[in-house]
Symmetry: C2
Subunit: 388 residues, 2 copies
């Protein structure tokens, strides 16, 4: 190997859980108490970009997030990702007959990682999922690791294993104690359902929040409802969600999405002390979704919330301009800024008949802005320098 | 019987559920899906006063609430209470050998009912419990009905059956389809635990709410967690709560009270569409309670919420002045009105050590006012004119 710097730049998507992950059966390996299912979002709107460089002259692994160096020695999960990728690279090299001393040495070379999200980290948009997916995918590319990386990404952040595939992805909980079978598996690619649209609503809220890792630990220890959910409810919901996806049955999928979000937050409230991630603003958004569906007589729109107040709405391309109109109408922003980012929208009123039935009040400053996006593809290589 | 007007005036208390009633297995007879347990509050602070008059000259039953006549023909539950009391009176008269024609006729005489609460009906303070308890107790007194009236009160409003006893009361769900064994039973009288104090916090909130009858029907039909709760969790909690009451173990009781409140609202959120009775203000109050308990290292204070945002706090006389100080300090009212009503408080700071650990912000206008009260006695007769 030469002394020159090798470099790869990769991007990875975020994902939004349709059937929720809440609770670990093993914190060391990030193993969940139930399987989950998610939609991978388009990287045109939301992505993490990670550049990884390596050189024999580097003395330490270094990670820079938005230009700020991270203390990686205090981050066991990050260290696990580095260690596991390097171990796998060595193992594959040896078993593939390429286990020369140089090659093995290369896999021990230190790296510098520079990572950036094109969305606010604090927006609660699963930046750890896209972040760890990009890191593991990038390291895997640099070290030419073959095969499934989702089990390694999972050890960085559970939901990151779902960001290594495009479209719809199931995180199968697995049974093994080492987590080797706790992996992300694609259910359908993004091309299966191009009409599906996602609108992320970033809401106005400045409350302190319990982090999701800490939150789910508390739920596992104190909620008397969580175990019942994970054992008796989730599997059936995953089955239903898969059927809805395969059949492109939006009404069914929408109902599962909302019920899953509600049950996640029900379990949070059943924890002790209770966890409350939904704000009044979140509830106002939920109210609009239910009012719109009721007024139109069919399920055109769904909401889902994770460990924060921001909403992710699911709808279809046929309805997205109506939904955009409703958002701009009922949730105006007082500074007059443009609300929608991302894919174009052309807001259209749903008409007086629907509006008369809606019975909603105009609520200024519920949201800061909205991002209109769709399903997206898996991580990809942006550039690779001197990596053959 | 003479033509003269007979009259009784009775009062009845409200009660606050410690283990919650949420869900009916039979709407006709108001039969619950699980037993529940409550504390009856002192009538010195919160009561319904009901005057019932009867005369052979009255042509219709009439009910006046706060001077406004009610349309009782549209209120089947109210009619059920009238019918059941009269039926029981006739039955007892006949079986007691007093079944003269005059006596039987008397029990069919029409009544005029005038009822008033000494607290705002809209304050969400279980006015239907004290209201139906007063009505049924008053009619029972007028018509000289012997024995248990809780099964009849239950048919007016489920929780009313708990307001016919003082102290701590269990509403046993029963097994019979006619509900005859679904009754309120006293666990301990108010004199058992005089140190227990209750503070009702009436919060600032004007949102429309789904009524509790409608809400619990929706939960029964749509929540996948409610059935598990009612079948697997509630009985154990009632057992624990009874032990805590008998042992006067405040920490244990406080924890059950909070967990029960949280689980009720978790089930509401798990309903579809979700029910949200807790406001940001409610959550702020919950935060203060947990922060105070954590800062003092013991469980000195508990909250509970029913189908509305108002809080009911439980504490002990030893701590009530500290709690009053915290409420006045963290939840000031901007109009400068006196916050505390009811039993006297003499607010005392818990001291800098506790306050430094609290990490709470001052939140003006979270509450409108607070009522300091204690456990109370069962309904009583205020006056009876020409009723021997």
């Amino acid at each position: 190997m030469s002394d020159e710097v090798l470099s790869v730049t990769v991007t990875a998507p975020t994902n939004i859980a349709i059937v929720k992950y809440w609770g670990k059966r093993c914190t060391k390996f990030n193993l969940p108490i139930n399987s989950s299912l998610s939609a991978t979002l388009s990287q045109d709107q939301l992505k993490t970009t990670t550049r990884i460089e390596t050189s024999p002259t580097f003395e330490e692994d270094e990670v820079w997030l938005h230009g700020k160096e991270q203390d990686i020695q205090k981050n066991q999960r990050l260290l696990n990702c580095f260690n596991n990728i390097r171990r796998l690279a060595r193992k594959q090299a040896i078993s593939g007959g390429e286990g020369s001393a140089d090659q093995i040495k290369f896999y021990s070379q230190k790296v510098q990682v520079h990572t950036e999200n094109n969305f606010p980290t604090a927006a609660g948009l699963a930046s750890s999922a896209s972040g760890y997916a990009a890191l593991v995918f990038g390291l895997g590319t640099l070290f030419k690791v073959q095969g499934d990386l989702t089990s390694i990404a999972r050890q960085g952040s559970g939901s990151a294993c779902r960001s290594l595939h495009g479209g719809f992805v199931e995180w199968q909980m697995g049974e093994q104690s080492d987590g080797e079978d706790s992996i992300g598996v694609q259910i359908a690619p993004e091309s299966h359902w191009p009409e599906l649209r996602i609108i992320v609503l970033v809401v106005n809220d400045a409350r302190k929040k319990v982090g999701s890792t800490e939150g789910m630990q508390s739920s596992v220890q104190t909620s008397t409802l969580l175990q019942y959910r994970s054992e008796k409810i989730v599997d059936e919901r995953i089955k239903q969600a898969k059927r809805a996806i395969i059949d492109k049955d939006f009404s069914l999928l929408a109902e599962i999405i909302m019920k899953e979000s509600n049950q996640l937050h029900a379990v949070c409230l059943d924890s002790f002390p209770p966890l409350h991630y939904l704000s009044n603003e979140s509830h106002t958004i939920m109210d609009l979704v239910h009012a719109y569906n009721k007024a139109t007589g069919c399920t055109r729109l769904a909401y889902t919330f994770d460990a924060g107040p921001n909403a992710c709405l699911f709808t279809m391309s046929t309805f997205v301009n109506e939904v955009a109109w409703l958002i701009e109408h009922y949730f105006p922003v007082e500074n007059g800024n443009k609300i929608f980012r991302g894919l174009e929208v052309d807001p259209v009123s749903p008409g007086d008949e629907v509006l008369n039935k809606l019975d909603m009040e105009i609520n200024p400053n519920v949201i800061k802005y909205a991002i209109h996006t769709r399903l997206g593809h898996p991580p990809k290589i942006e550039s690779a320098v001197n990596v053959s």
